[in-house]
């Protein structure tokens, strides 16, 4: 069976996660196919970030199964990692390196081309062409987010797992994020975004609300 025969599909069944001894959520299940995205909502502390981290494989879930292309992800970790682009609330950038240099190391890690011309093009797309050499610690919060968007623009990973992707972005930045996500979905990509804000995305979202009070 070649790669092309299997559709990109994420199937989650009966997922449960805990923080310490408290169960954050349980019985989460969904199926996500090409061009679809989930807007993950719920109050603070309900486990949105934990759900994303559990999907990515950083946190071990208490129960449930996660399948990518019909294959349990815990049994094919390398193929799973090659399929996802995860952006948590930590940026994964080094303070002392410049914007372009941070992007370059991230793209090399993702296995994407990262020549100077490509970096310049990506930074221009997110409006950071003048900040290319500025150290990351001197960028504003919104500019840091935009640098994260540049990674997504370059990414050819089918599934994006994004935690609060538009916080600190100005109106233009949020619109830019919407365009980038729409393009990704249009290309048959999948995405799960944890957010409190309304995202300016044209593709209709599947809404998933995590429960309010954590149950014991």
């Amino acid at each position: 069976m070649s790669d092309a025969d299997v559709a990109d599909r994420l199937e989650v069944e009966d997922l449960a996660c805990a923080a310490g001894i408290r169960t954050l959520f349980q019985g989460i299940g969904f199926s996500l196919g090409p061009g679809q995205w989930i807007q993950l909502g719920g109050p603070n502390g309900c486990g949105k970030s934990t759900l994303l981290r559990a999907l990515a494989g950083l946190v071990r879930p208490l129960a449930g199964s996660i399948r990518w292309r019909g294959e349990p992800v815990s049994q094919a970790r390398e193929r799973w990692h090659a399929a996802i682009a995860f952006q948590g609330h930590l940026p994964g950038c080094k303070d002392t390196l410049g914007a372009a240099e941070n992007l370059r190391w991230q793209l090399l890690l993702d296995g994407e081309p990262a020549g100077p011309a490509r970096l310049g093009e990506l930074l221009a797309q997110v409006g950071l062409e003048r900040q290319a050499r500025l150290a990351y610690q001197r960028l504003s919060a919104g500019q840091r987010r935009r640098l994260g968007l540049a990674r997504l623009v370059a990414s050819r990973r089918p599934l994006w797992l994004l935690d609060e992707p538009t916080t600190a972005l100005d109106a233009a930045g949020q619109a830019l994020f919407g365009e980038i996500l729409d393009r990704h979905l249009g290309d048959g990509g999948l995405a799960i975004c944890a957010t409190h804000l309304e995202l300016p995305v044209r593709s209709p979202a599947i809404r998933l609300e995590l429960g309010g009070r954590p149950r014991a």
Binding site: A82, P91, C93, T96, E101, L109
Partner: protein
């Protein structure tokens, strides 16, 4: 990304970072030189005594100096989220970690090896003994780097991590210290240093074979 490319990525990125924070690297080396220079001042300036205790002092100083640089090996990457990206990369985590530890050794271990003759001269060691001292450090500092890497990964996210790290790593480093300092002693006693050097070399190989996997496991645990 295959294992070779992953090692190269970790090595080149962390060396680039070390170049940006040269001061932190320089502190490790200054610490080593300072500690070794303190002993002749504190003890009586008897050349026979100093040259007798020189290997032990150089080794203890190297051990403490290598401990000093350890917290920055993973803690920074853990705090800014880079470590998550490494763990989720489409590349073997042990290889990425190996690149990082190799860069750490090049930045802090290798300079100690190169500075050791300076410490030896201060204590009036004869050239042959200095040669042995350098050889033991060259074989022993990679072991220290790997023991430290495992400890640094295990103490990620704990409070008082640096102190805990010292408590965790120092007892494990005792054999390295014994064989490292012992090599110089036994070669001066006419017994030859070959046995000690072989054991250190075996330790270096063992730590390089198992270190990456154990460290990668400890890194994964740190996210839970």
């Amino acid at each position: 990304m295959n294992a070779g490319a992953a090692i190269a990525w970790g090595l080149r990125r962390d060396l680039a970072l070390a170049m940006r924070s040269r001061a932190e690297v320089a502190i490790v080396l200054a610490f080593f030189l300072l500690v070794t220079s303190m002993f002749p001042l504190g003890l009586e300036p008897d050349p026979a005594l100093l040259s007798k205790i020189a290997p032990g002092i150089a080794w203890v100083a190297a051990l403490l100096a290598s401990l000093l640089g350890l917290p920055r090996l993973f803690a920074g990457d853990h705090a800014d989220g880079s470590l998550e990206q490494l763990a989720l990369a489409d590349a073997p985590l042990p290889a990425l970690v190996a690149g990082k530890v190799l860069a750490h050794w090049v930045a802090t271990g290798l300079p100690l090896v190169l500075l050791a003759p300076l410490a030896g001269i201060q204590f009036g060691l004869e050239p042959a003994a200095i040669g042995i001292l350098v050889a033991t450090l060259a074989l022993g500092t990679p072991v220290l780097a790997w023991l430290g890497a495992i400890g640094a990964a295990l103490t990620l996210g704990t409070r008082g991590g640096a102190a805990l790290l010292a408590l965790l790593v120092l007892p494990l480093a005792v054999p390295v210290l014994v064989f490292g300092a012992g090599a110089v002693e036994s070669s001066r006693a006419g017994l030859g240093a070959q046995a000690h050097l072989s054991l250190l070399g075996a330790g270096a190989i063992l730590s390089m074979v198992f270190g990456p996997f154990v460290t990668a496991l400890a890194v994964r645990i740190s996210f839970e």
